[in-house]
């Protein structure tokens, strides 16, 4: 019975000897090393286009699939992991994947798989990491996946998935990373407090409605991104129950009410709350009175300023019709002036509400940039790259920033779209303390530029070679850059960021802290990915990619590293004894 079922459901012939071996243990029944290979061969067969020959080593005549590229096995030659990342593979996902009973990691990020997520994956009871980010998948998340109770990373972002929030996720008590962002999910988001291990919650760029989901008390939660949805209601009150929260973004929703002036909300920049017409408060420099005047007296906020304006409206009402009209007139004028002020402030500050939506015309105009850089005069140039020039500029509010303008041959309507998409990701990624922040942009047909933090300390190259650096400064720099790279490796993995790392791309701020700049996301390919030959490993590009594959092997090296001098302990007696000698 079970046998027939499995064969029927999966629809492929498994190695007949396995079936003949007949065993009541279901795991044994559904395969062995050869069965696993059959599944992979079906995966390859259904991958109709493989432009990079990523599956070239998948040779069915081998005894097992364990030597194939991208395949990991356990000691019994059962497949435990599949990594086929960024290979432009086209096709559909094999329904037989569910037969890989020992599968722990399925990582098919950044390919062109279409169709739906195979429901049979629910049978992979060991599955911990399912990463299908950046494909062309449609349909909903199959309910069968509720059985994957060991799931720790569920990344299906950057697809075209639809349907309501997959409730089966609530069954995954070990879930740590949830990336559903950039899909077409609709409906409300359920209470997520059962996901006690959750670290990353990214639901941005969907069509979710309802209120901000309840995540109160999640001790591990680091990042919440709910931006670009249709959430309504007020801001959550549970942020202070999230001890590790370091990133919050609820921008571009329909949230209303006051952003309390408390440290828990002040920790996040104004951009975290931007694009919600009904939000007000000092953080986003919008007076609650303006909003209540604009929307009349039907506000739901209970804030002190709102209370006052309500009282005022009641008083005016009691004065009769003429009074109401007068009040409305004043209100309209007030709101108009208020929103102008906000516009000025935001444009001079760190964000622009103009960025809301997916308009191509975001950020600054050429005219504004021209003004800020005094007409892009040479005197303001602080750096020249192969495809860009960097200017020192002053925002209308007086803040100094750097403007990196791409050279004009890059402009076209295609690159403009890609540029905006890349900008939006870079802006988010560079919030990390070891990055030069991307603050804003200019993306019009005649201008492609990024507005960046200005780093008064100049480049590391200049500081190291033209000035002097103490040992502590150098170690500090090395640590700061390493922190940034760890962050890119682990936290930004899905974006596949490339860094052209060299001293001229490491900038020093006013406090002598080092920041990495010049990040690229090859997926958008708005600019040629640079590489500097002396910094490239022999035969490869400088790419900072997700390297979880190697982490376990590399952990072994740690002990030897911490055991300090491994390689040269016989060679050195005292370096410092050579100080005076070499000075001569």
């Amino acid at each position: 019975m079970i046998l027939t079922l499995v064969v029927l459901v999966v629809g492929i012939a498994i190695n007949s000897t396995v079936i003949a071996a007949g065993n009541t243990d279901r795991r044994r029944l559904v395969g062995d090393a050869l069965g696993d290979m059959q599944v992979l061969l079906q995966l390859a067969q259904l991958s109709t286009n493989d432009p990079q020959n990523a599956l070239g080593s998948w040779d069915g005549s081998r005894p097992s699939a364990c030597s194939w590229q991208g395949i990991r096995c356990n000691a019994a030659n059962r497949v435990t992991a599949i990594f086929i990342v960024n290979k432009q593979l086209e096709g559909v996902l094999a329904p037989s994947l569910g037969l890989l009973t020992y599968l722990i990691t399925l990582d098919l990020r950044f390919n062109k798989f279409s169709g739906s997520i195979p429901p049979s994956l629910g049978a992979c009871q060991m599955l911990q990491t399912l990463s299908l980010s950046g494909n062309l998948l449609t349909g909903d998340v199959p309910s069968e996946l509720a059985q994957n109770t060991r799931m720790s990373t569920f990344a299906v972002n950057l697809n075209m998935l639809s349907g309501s929030f997959p409730l089966q996720i609530l069954a995954w008590r070990e879930l740590s990373v949830l990336w559903l962002d950039n899909n077409m999910f609709t409906g409300s988001i359920p209470d997520l407090t059962s996901l006690v291990q959750l670290k990353i919650l990214d639901l941005q760029n969907n069509q979710f409605t309802g209120t901000v989901p309840n995540v109160a008390g999640l001790q591990a939660l680091l990042d919440i991104d709910l931006s670009n949805n249709k959430l309504s209601g007020s801001l959550p009150t549970f942020l202070d129950t999230l001890p590790k929260l370091r990133y919050l973004n609820v921008s571009n929703n329909h949230l209303t009410g006051l952003i309390p002036d408390t440290s828990v909300f002040l920790r996040f920049p104004a951009s975290a709350y931007a694009g919600n017409d009904g939000l007000c408060g000092a953080i986003i420099k919008r007076d609650c009175a303006d909003i209540s005047n604009m929307s009349g007296s039907n506000s739901t906020s209970t804030s002190a300023p709102k209370m006052l304006s309500k009282t005022a409206i009641i008083v005016i009402s009691s004065l009769g019709g003429a009074g109401v009209l007068l009040g409305m007139f004043l209100g309209v004028r007030c709101a108009y002036r208020g929103s102008q002020d906000i516009l000025e402030d935001l444009r001079g500050g760190e964000d622009s509400t103009l960025l809301s939506g997916s308009n191509v015309n975001v950020g600054y105009t050429v005219a504004e940039l021209t003004k800020m850089t005094n007409g892009f005069v040479k005197a303001n140039i602080i750096g020249v790259g192969s495809s860009s020039i960097v200017y020192r500029s002053m925002l209308p509010g007086g803040a100094i920033v750097a403007i990196k303008r791409l050279s004009e041959e890059k402009y076209s309507s295609d690159t403009q779209h890609a540029f905006v998409a890349e900008y939006q990701i870079l802006k988010r990624i560079t919030q990390h303390g070891s990055m030069v922040r991307v603050l804003n942009c200019c993306a019009t047909p005649s201008c492609m530029a990024l507005v960046l933090d200005f780093m008064p300390g100049g480049t590391l190259e200049n500081k190291l070679y033209e000035q002097s650096m103490s040992w502590l400064d150098r170690v500090d720099t090395a640590v700061s850059v390493a922190k940034g790279l760890v962050y890119l490796h682990l936290d930004c993995a899905a974006h596949k960021v490339v860094v052209d790392l060299k001293p001229s791309h490491i900038l020093i701020d006013a406090d002598s802290k080092a920041h990495i700049t010049d990040l690229h996301i090859p997926r958008f390919a708005t600019s040629k990915i640079p590489g500097t030959i002396a910094y490239c490993a022999p035969g490869e590009h400088i790419s900072i990619l997700f390297c979880r594959v190697f982490v376990s092997a590399m952990m072994l090296l740690l002990d030897s590293l911490l055991g300090s001098i491994v390689m040269h302990q016989n060679l050195f007696i005292s370096l410092s004894s050579h100080c005076s000698e070499s000075n001569l």
Binding site: W471, A478, H489, K502, A534, A537, E540, I544, L561, S576
Partner: protein, 97 residues
């Protein structure tokens, strides 16, 4: 990873990989490995101001070890970034004493 190792080597030697590529006709990592075979070359390799900073010999060598591993010719022999960070944090701790 490799390029990070090269940046570490620059911090230690204050020598530019491009000029080494031109003058020595080999990449920086190879050049350092070659220099390590001879004590007198090793001493010349380091930035003189670091040699004249007392009490940091061991830290210099630890960072050199990390740099050598990061620039290992076989990519799989290179350490992971979190591991590198751990070692450097320890060096930073020592350097602050």
């Amino acid at each position: 990873m490799y390029s990070y190792g090269i940046v570490l080597l620059e911090l230690l030697t204050r020598k530019k990989p491009n000029s080494i590529l031109v003058t020595e006709r080999m990449n920086m990592s190879k050049w350092v490995r070659k220099a390590l075979l001879k004590p007198e070359l090793t001493v010349q390799m380091f930035d003189i101001t670091l040699l004249c900073t007392l009490g940091i010999d061991e830290q210099l060598l630890q960072v050199l070890d990390v740099a050598m591993l990061c620039t290992h010719e076989i990519p799989t022999k290179r350490p992971s970034m979190p591991d590198v960070l751990k070692v450097l944090m320890k060096v930073k701790h020592d350097a602050q004493k």
